[in-house]
Amino acid sequence: MVLFDAPPDSVIQRLDPRVRVATAFAFAVVVCFSRSPDALGFALVLGFLAVVLGRPSLRQLLRALLTLNVFLGLLAATLIVSVPGRDLFRLGPLAGSRAGFAQGMTILCRANAIVPAVASLLGTMEPAYLGWALAGLGVPTRLAQILAFMVRYVEVIHVEYHRLRDAMALRCFQARCDCHTLRTFGHLVGLLLVRSLERAQRIVDAMRCRGFTGHFHVLRVFRCGVPDAIFAALTTAALALLIFLEVQ
């Protein structure tokens, strides 16, 4: 399962997953707390640069950005009319304020800088490595294991869900807004739950059978090489410039 389609030979694909996770989080944290227009503009440029380096599928990325911007646009619109301040425009009883506009734009810029960067750095990664990369960065092993199991079985449960929906469609089930529909969905969720918990039991049995001691072996050993060091250094410099633009 890959989240975003991407060519396997892009610059970002060849980096150590730990470096990718660390830079993505660092970038998101810095951008999230930036306010000045200069810093946000530079963050947007960096987000675009990440897309150039990671080359995630543009169709998937644009679709993700569209949903996000519709939602955040609504939030920005409510902020423009609800925040008090000097008038930007007046439409009958509605008055748009400059302060609200600035705040709405800040939120939109932050999200539109972070999402492309996260999509290029983490979205193009094999999700199975995500958990181990996090474990390599100091996240508790148990949490990484939960993440790994979830990533492995999301696809299986999703297929199971579609099989059940097909069975329902064959029996002429049509989703409506009534109690019957909700009860049926409840039974669907219940059946998914029962099957996945039974599967979890079988997994535990299989793990016991193979002498599970609480640790998994990872086939790919992460290595931090020269390209990773260069990428990390460049990102650190870019983030330092971002912080400098912010506090200036």
Binding site: I114, M150, F185, V189
Partner: protein
């Protein structure tokens, strides 16, 4: 349902992340290695549940299922929801990376509260009606609780978010009704098909005497 990056103020983000970290630590504390697949699987069900759309009036809503996860996992809901929300943040950008802590805290705390309020009734054998009632209560409480907490998080972040917070809360009311019926039916279904999944203690702690009888010795959980 989820907060995106860049909305919350720094102090609110830091405080809710600290709370979420405490919850995750409590959830991982004494989590036996053998329960990890179960927790991961519940996280996957939660993730797939968020892809199930139910028609509500002219629009549609997706299932939340945090109440259901809470009933089955107790404190382990924190790590389970963390994993699922992280994948959602990367894949769909529902919710952000930086405010992941806030989203986890808002979703998982009502789930754990539902476990203590309603889940304890399901530890001993009960009828399907009782199962439905407790499941419906946990489902409604999960959505209602996370709606209220999200509205509070927004308000704490700045007074200008009062209007969006009220809108968020209003949008949660129809979802609450949907969630109550779906979770109630799901719990009564599980009670009918595999009651031992609910009877077995899911907190990682041995059942106390007042929690009802131990699960029968031949259930798959106890076979070793």
């Amino acid at each position: 349902m989820h907060l995106a990056d860049g909305i919350l103020s720094a102090p609110v983000t830091v405080a809710s992340t600290a709370c979420a970290l405490a919850g995750i630590a409590r959830g991982l504390y004494r989590l036996e290695p053998e329960r990890v697949p179960q927790v991961g699987m519940m996280a996957a069900v939660f993730f797939v549940g968020s892809l199930i759309h139910v028609p509500v009036g002219v629009s549609s809503a997706h299932l939340v299922l945090n109440g259901l996860v809470g009933l089955f996992l107790g404190w382990a809901s924190f790590p389970a929801l963390t994993a699922a929300l992280l994948l959602q943040a990367i894949l769909f950008h529902f919710g952000g990376m930086v405010c992941l802590g806030a989203n986890v805290w808002n979703m998982a705390l009502p789930a754990v509260a539902g476990y203590y309020l309603f889940g304890c009734r399901l530890r001993r054998p009960v009828g399907r009606g009782m199962g439905f009632a407790m499941g419906a209560a946990a489902g409604a409480f999960g959505v209602f609780g996370s709606g209220v907490m999200m509205a509070l998080t927004l308000c704490a972040s700045g007074g200008e978010f009062l209007v969006p917070a009220a809108a968020v809360l209003a949008a949660h009311i129809p979802v609450m009704a949907v969630e109550a019926l779906v979770t109630g039916s799901a719990v009564s279904f599980v009670l009918q098909v595999r009651p031992e999944f609910l009877l077995s203690p899911s907190d990682g702690t041995p059942p106390r005497p007042e929690d009802g009888p131990h699960p029968p010795a031949d259930t798959p959980r106890n076979r070793s």
